[in-house]
Amino acid sequence: MIEAANPDSFIRIRGVSKHFGDFVAVDDINLDIQKGELFAILGGSGCGKSTLLRMLAGFEEPTSGTMEIDGVDVTRQAPYERPVNMMFQSYAIFPHMNVEKNIAYGLRKERVAANEVDERVSDVIRLVQLDDFRARKPDQLSGGQRQRVALARALIKQPKVLLLDEPLAALDKKLREHTQFELMNIQDELGITFIVVTHDQEEAMTLSTRIAVMDRGRFLQVGPPKEIYEYPKSRFVADFIGTINTFEGRVTSAGDETISVDCPDVGVEVRALCTEDVKVGQDVCVAVRPEKIFISREEPEEDEGVRVRGIVDDLGYLGNLSLYRIHLETGRMIQVSRQNRRRSHKRFVEWDDKVWLSWRPRSAMIIQGDD
């Protein structure tokens, strides 16, 4: 999984591992990040995201490997020597200092002149919209305000890299979405390289220019959100990002662009677009996202994709979307989603209705190998 070495990469991580006793928390990570990127590390709880971030910040020493930031090897540098600041998962706001003192702390430690400190604190307080709370103590702030103090405190030193450990995890959904855009704006304005750790795939998708999906201390896939979503390289990644229907099958014919796979679960031969190298007789996995499947009462027109019949087992109304679980004749359950474009009281289909499902070859992806 080593990417092509990029000569002008801003952050360069090479073969970094971290062992706690026998336990391998981070396992041989290689990564290049460009200046100004908003890079997301996505993974389940305990997969080593925080540990990787803490190594970048200098709180943990890697067991092996090296890390460079802007051409300087920082592997052995102390946290206070690195051009890196971190926003902690717990926010780690100093409880005995008010908002202003918290934010000014980093500059004070740099021995910046008092009037400049005032100026810069005011600037960043305005940036995060905390003007009315300057003198408050942390325990008099709401979760969202605290989160902004932590952000301001990390931003004020104008680090080359800002590390954010689950910055929005403690916020409610509405505030989270709002803050995501704020974060993106701030990043845009300041041009600082952001590395965001999260276990929320939606957050990773909206925020970042690139995503690394992490599991058990390793990177499974690194790429832009779209690539991760539409072209997952493994079932784990496909499953982790969004919902997906997967069917095991055996390749029956392989053309230039499309292949046919015999999937016993679906009951018919499935045609799918595939640019990768697969051989006839090989076992593969066909995966289709719920929103790529059409659902209709009448038999859809003839087309080279897939058409199967099923019965509505369950349906759920989510407002913008409706979700359906369709029981195929083979006994397999398939998830389908459909946008609610029209305002209407009447349901499009009801429980136990007989329906047709169909999707295009382009919509199905082939996942080889298995993680």
């Binding site: 946290p79 206070y80 702390y105």
Partner: protein, 292 residues
């Protein structure tokens, strides 16, 4: 007292009366006796109301206490010694509590157990143990003479130094435990954050750890200082005949000199000295109970 059920009133009244009778009332009696004059009689003090029913109070004991230089010196020395022991406990106890709070969970529970254990062993015996060490022919002198560092035993026993060691030793767990409690509660991310923002290890300690540990420091210091001020066993066993501390003076004034009014006055002045620390401690403990 209560608007609630009868049984609630009963349950309130029983401990209330007990404490009133055996805690509050005795203080009133001390105060009363401190305002009497000593006489050779049984009991050895003048009654508060004479035969004619006139109030007879005398401040002689207090005046004597305040004018006699010996008492001033004794109080001063008690304060100094208790304060020194408190400082020593803090100097040793803080890094210990810090080390315990930052150790692995399994090690931590063993280390804590080892701090608590002496607390359950009789105080008297722990002081006694030092007699065996500090004696002219005790373990320390024997050792020093054996390795040839000295050829005459050093006089440790019956010195202020011995009392200081004894107090530090006896009250060290009282310092370590509250310090440990605050340090253990502290979010380690805070120290990391300070370093991330440019503080060195030492800087982060003074900016973050120390101010956040202050409630523990204050509680620990008070828990050592207050009992050390009234200490009776240590001056008796480790201090010499002339190294008088207030707790021992009080005892002797009462049982040896049989001057009850004076002993009562000594107690009241001691209490006055301790009122501020005691109230501070109660405030901190109440706040701690709220936070827990």
């Amino acid at each position: 007292m209560h608007k609630g059920h009868t049984w609630e009133r009963v349950i309130t009244a029983i401990p209330y009366l007990w404490l009133f009778l055996f805690f509050l009332l005795p203080f009133a009696i001390i105060l009363k006796i401190s305002l009497a004059d000593p006489v050779i009689a049984q009991p050895p003090f003048t009654p508060m109301f004479d035969e004619q029913g006139n109030l007879s109070v005398s401040f002689d004991s207090f005046i004597f206490l305040l004018t006699d230089k010996l008492y001033a010196i004794t109080y001063f020395k008690s304060v100094m010694l208790a304060a020194s022991a408190t400082m020593l406990c803090l100097l040793l106890g803080f890094p210990m509590a810090y080390g315990i709070a930052r150790s692995e969970p399994t090690t931590r529970s063993i280390l804590l157990l080892l701090i608590v254990l002496p607390f359950w062993i009789s105080f008297l015996l722990r002081v006694y143990a030092w007699m065996g060490l500090l004696n002219n022919y005790g373990v320390i002198n024997n050792m020093l003479m054996w390795i040839g560092a000295i050829d005459q035993p050093i006089q440790f026993m019956y010195t202020d130094f011995a009392m200081l060691i004894g107090m530090t030793y006896s009250y060290l767990p009282f310092m370590v435990l509250p310090l440990y409690a605050t340090l253990e509660r502290m979010d380690l991310d805070l120290v990391d954050a300070a370093q991330d923002l440019g503080a060195t290890r030492t800087g982060a300690f003074w900016d973050i750890t120390w101010p956040l540990a202050r409630p523990g420091v204050i509680a620990g210091c008070l828990l050592v200082f207050i009992p050390a001020m009234g200490e009776y066993v240590i001056p008796y066993l480790l201090g010499g005949g002339e190294s008088l501390l207030i707790g021992r003076v009080l005892f002797d004034e009462f049982f040896v000199a049989r001057d009850w009014p004076l002993a009562s006055s000594v107690a009241i002045v001691l209490l006055l000295i301790l009122v501020v620390p005691i109230m501070l401690l109660q405030r901190y403990q109440a706040r701690d109970a709220e936070n827990a």
